[in-house]
Subunit: 138 residues, 2 copies
Amino acid sequence: MSDEIRITKKERDALIILGNHIDEEFPVRLVDLSDEMSLKPPTILNLLKRLEDKGYVEREKGMTVLTKSGVSRYREIVENHRILETLMVKNGMDLDRACVISENIDFLIDHESIDNIFEKIGKPSKCPHGRKIEQFHE
Amino acid sequence: MSDEIRITKKERDALIILGNHIDEEFPVRLVDLSDEMSLKPPTILNLLKRLEDKGYVEREKGMTVLTKSGVSRYREIVENHRILETLMVKNGMDLDRACVISENIDFLIDHESIDNIFEKIGKPSKCPHGRKIEQFHE
DNA sequence: CTGACATATTAGGTAAATACTAATAAGATT
DNA sequence: AATCTTATTAGTATTTACCTAATATGTCAG
């Protein structure tokens, strides 16, 4: 519990982009990430190598894919994000602001703790953006 | 609104310690901070210089004091901490865990947003630790 | 007032994260 | 094969966050 590997905001952002592309036909290339993150390819490469060291991605011939553990972590962060957003909006916060704040903290909080909150607030099926919240346990 | 100067976790920790000593007879020395943070004096000095650059502390003859702006920021972080803690505990989280999590995010969220939550949850006068929550506006 | 001890500061070094440019290598396309 | 697009390597810079060792500045006991 709460023994998640520490990641940085940038690593989180890359993980989210990679996860969001999971169902697409083509794997994510360096240039794609470079465009989406507005960072030069060498910077992205550096970032991906760190995610590789942490066991979250695998790279082959320029293509990058999430490992099993990367997918798990991705899902946990997305769930954290949506639950936190829900909690904040339920307590009077503006949706846009809640989203930005959530982006900055969703990867810092262990999923187990957030999951407790999820149970407590009545397992809402959707976040304020209308996206599904699927409870995730590995 | 939400245009607070960015600080790091370590800067936050130092700010909190300095703020907690405000009412004491003697100002905080380098060794005191060094002891409380379990870091060597040169490391602390480095940290304090950054806080000085950000306008939060002033240093004179080895003594360090919070500036007006430093006190404001200190109070905002403390309030954020207590309100977030209250919110989390109210939603099923264990107090100790809520405290640790809050420490990691209280300095990342703008006070104005947190203040909205405070109003919404009925302006509780105490945090789960039993400490006063004083609404703070500059 | 002077030596000894405590404290502060400077200097210098290391490492990780976050960026960049420029150069090279490798692939793909025409 | 020549070109264009990507990927990778090499090298540089900044910020944060640490350290040790050396020096300077206080302070306090005698």
